[in-house]
Amino acid sequence: MVELNLEHIYKKYDNADDYSVTDFNLDIKDQEFIVFVGPSGCGKSTTLRMIAGLEDITKGDLKIDGNVVNDEAPKDRDIAMVFQTYALYPHMTVFDNMAFGLKLRKYSKDEIDKRVHHAADILGLEEYLERKPAALSGGQRQRVALGRAIVRDAPIFLMDEPLSNLDAKLRVAMRAQIAKLHQDLKTTTIYVTHDQTEAMTMADRIVVMKDGKVQQIGTPQEVYDQPTNVFVGGFIGAPAMNFFNVTLDQGYIYDEGKNFNLKVPEGCLKILESKGYEQKKLVFGIRPEDMHTEQAFIETFPDSIVSATVSVSELLGAESQLYSKVGETEFVCKVDARDFVQPGTKVTMGVDLNKAHFFDPETENSVY
């Protein structure tokens, strides 16, 4: 059982003017798989390193099982970490790499042997135990790095972009392996990535960060369905959410050049009106998969239609992505592979406004 509380955590580097991490609050429950996601330099790795004890905490409290551990050395926090660069000791064999932490903690030889072989078994590393890291492939090295964390049997795993150095195929395979590992070991895990797919597929809860600030904390579904602001909406989901600057006018939204005029559903409209957005500007967000080219949809919702010329079209096998422009705004629409069209074709697209997101153009926060 382990619980982790981050309470009003701030981080400012010595030579920096601004805070790298600002007012980070998060309660992590036992066995949870938490993913910090955000663009480069958003403070996600810094936060992870503060939890590990590799960086000082400028302000705020980090609690493990209720005890403030701000000033505890990394080795006393009993945390295992997997580094982006693997950080395997190059002069030691795979076995010694995994055994190093156990030896330092004075485990008996038999116990070390048992644990290392157990971990090697889980990760399929048995036959490589006597090899040095240089003689391993990237995927194998990554597994050794995981093994080093597993043998420790530490209550908390930290992973700092562990898959970013692997090729695309291996990354998918390792993603599944890490997810399975977590199901088996149930170790509380904090995982840092800039890849929203990793975040969506692995996390129990996602923490979306930007510029050192937490933007949203929630389950993958929550973050995907109810993004709190424009940034989260645009960051989570691939391809990214489309945004249009629109004005609300008597139940309809239109863009600046009045290229489209879409009917807002009842429930949504009531909320927007009650918040005083009638005749006001809004940011209208719609996911590429919520735009359709099927004739049936277009006929059913004649009030939800956008016409545009496709500039780039990508066939991805099962689906195709059509890139187009209305006015000055570019957007992408994800449709069935059968609806693939050549670039230059004029296409009518139906917008599923029941899935629409609205944001305030000033604050960029979600209003619906």
């Binding site: 693997y86 000791y89 190093f100 932490g101 003689a135």
Partner: protein, 288 residues
């Protein structure tokens, strides 16, 4: 037509490759001559009768081992040799220890005056030893260190620290910091990280440092000449010079024999350390 051009191209590639190799080997041959010629003279002379008067290359006998015998029987060579060994080993051990720790500290820790002192090192090592000789002498007098090994050893060590600390720091910098952090989380303290993780990865540089520090006292003439007085206290370089310092009675054969023996411990150390002279120790540990 096309084929003709093709073969022509082929032969010109062959020719340019030939020229490339020819020039490379020619250069290496010249270099070897420059190195081997004086060495050969010394080796030849060492095994000749003591009536040889000048360094010339000649392969004519008679050959003898008498010079080596004389060195140890009639001169103080044995004593000088021992003196030098003591100084060399002490210099090597202390200098490597100091420089390794200093290099590690400069590479891994930040502290007040770090940048300033590194710049200071850089400036200090630009001053040639010769310019400092008088200062060394005065220092020796003040500390009562003239004609004492410990003082000469300290001078050698001190002279080697600035430059070699820089080199060591540079080498430590090539060991990714991720290893340290990974070890920290594995439960290692500062000393364990240094000893078990980082040190093994800088062995090549430590080996080079050891060899250099060991060779220094064997090759140094000037500082030893200045700071050592008593004939029985000399190092080999200074001692040997005495054999040929009298223009009317140059003991060339004896000098050559003594010079060759100097190479022995250095060669031995080199071959012992050779296994550490490898590159790419950090390969495979970190990718990024």
């Amino acid at each position: 037509m096309a084929e003709k051009i093709h073969t022509k191209g082929k032969s010109s590639i062959k020719r340019s490759r030939f020229i490339k190799y020819f020039l490379t080997y020619l250069f290496m041959l010249l270099l070897s001559l420059v190195i081997i010629y004086p060495l050969l003279i010394t080796v030849m002379t060492a095994f000749k009768n003591s009536d040889v008067v000048a360094f010339t290359l000649s392969f004519q006998g008679p050959w003898t081992l008498k010079n080596f015998q004389d060195l140890f029987m009639t001169t103080l060579y044995g004593k000088w040799y021992w003196n030098t060994l003591v100084i060399s080993v002490a210099t090597m051990v202390i200098q490597v220890a100091v420089v390794t720790l200093a290099g590690y500290t400069y590479s891994r820790y930040s502290f007040a005056g770090k940048k300033w002192s590194l710049t200071f090192f850089l400036v200090v090592q630009m001053v040639p030893t010769m310019a400092a000789l008088t200062a060394f002498y005065v220092l020796g007098m003040l500390l009562n260190g003239l004609d004492h090994y410990w003082f000469l050893t300290l001078i050698y060590i001190g002279g080697g620290i600035p430059m070699n600390t820089w080199l060591m720091k540079g080498y430590f910098d090539t060991v990714p910091y991720d290893f340290d952090e990974s070890a920290k989380l594995d439960g290692a303290g500062n000393f364990t990280i240094f000893w078990k993780i980082v040190m093994p990865l800088v062995k090549p540089m430590i080996a080079v440092q050891a060899l250099w520090a060991f060779m220094g006292p064997f090759g140094d003439f000037m500082t030893a000449r200045y700071l050592l007085r008593e004939e029985s206290n000399l190092t080999v370089a200074v001692g040997l010079q005495q054999f040929i310092s009298d223009p009317k009675d140059q003991q060339v054969a004896l000098f050559a024999a003594g010079a060759i023996l100097i190479a022995l411990p250095i060669c031995a150390l080199f071959f012992y350390l050779q296994k550490y002279f490898v590159t790419g120790l950090t390969a495979g540990g970190a990718k990024g």
